[in-house]
Symmetry: C2
Subunit: 114 residues, 2 copies
DNA sequence: CTAACACTTAGGCTTTGCGCTAAGTGTTTG
DNA sequence: CAAACACTTAGCGCAAAGCCTAAGTGTTAG
């Protein structure tokens, strides 16, 4: 577990924006073109495509251009890093809380009547 | 599942910084004071305490000041939101990949000899 | 009661994030 | 081949992130 993980920084950063999360959600229902993806958003197109570029740069989606249409789909591998991190953290977390429980129990047993 | 979730934005944002992730890791081993937490980092103290404030503001840690020492500990509840989001996304993801598998199989069956 | 300690507040500086408009590129379609 | 289409590039503006130093504030030890 390194202090600095570029990959984790990037993926969390990518997920910190609601537009990008919504795009991932949409793509989980199937591939789509740039304009299809952009339609629900009120944003100007260049602003929107920056989000798509960011998602691709950080490995969360991939795209392919055919003719004048660019089609995007998910690249789920990268989300695994985040999931791993969370689950690992949660294990430590819960172990710690268990220890706290145990400690409080000890206190209680040692603590006769006051 | 709403398009805009302040809570998710905030938590992902909080986790996007390596210093803050390291603090969470350290705290998963037990509570600690501001200076104890700060020691491993080369950052100036005011810079570091801003990270702590952010973690607290977003509900990932909590603190209590007693005398001149402020002690921090984890507040694990909030991480659940992130975990939920990830796992939900993953379910959709995998269903989608399964569909793709099925589709490719269909193709293969329809595709006799070319 | 003074000095050290453990932060905390204030303010400044630079970089990055996220939005915009305007103009450009390459691909179809009539 | 001209016009419509689907992006793409360039460049600007503003706000927030993340770092710093300097100067507080309140607490405790000698």
């Amino acid at each position: 577990m390194t202090y600095y993980s570029r990959k984790l920084n990037d993926v969390f950063q990518a997920l910190a924006d609601p537009t990008r999360r919504a795009v991932l959600q949409r793509l989980s229902e199937g591939a789509a073109s740039t304009l299809e993806l952009a339609r629900p958003f009120e944003m100007a197109l260049p602003s929107f495509t920056r989000h798509l570029k960011m998602l691709e740069k950080f490995g969360l989606v991939k795209s392919k251009k055919s003719g004048r249409v660019r089609t995007y789909e998910l690249a789920p591998k990268r989300l695994q890093a985040v999931e791993d991190w969370i689950l690992e953290r949660r294990k430590l977390w819960e172990r710690r809380l268990d220890q706290l429980d145990a400690y409080l129990l000890t206190m209680k047993e040692d603590d006769h009547g006051q």
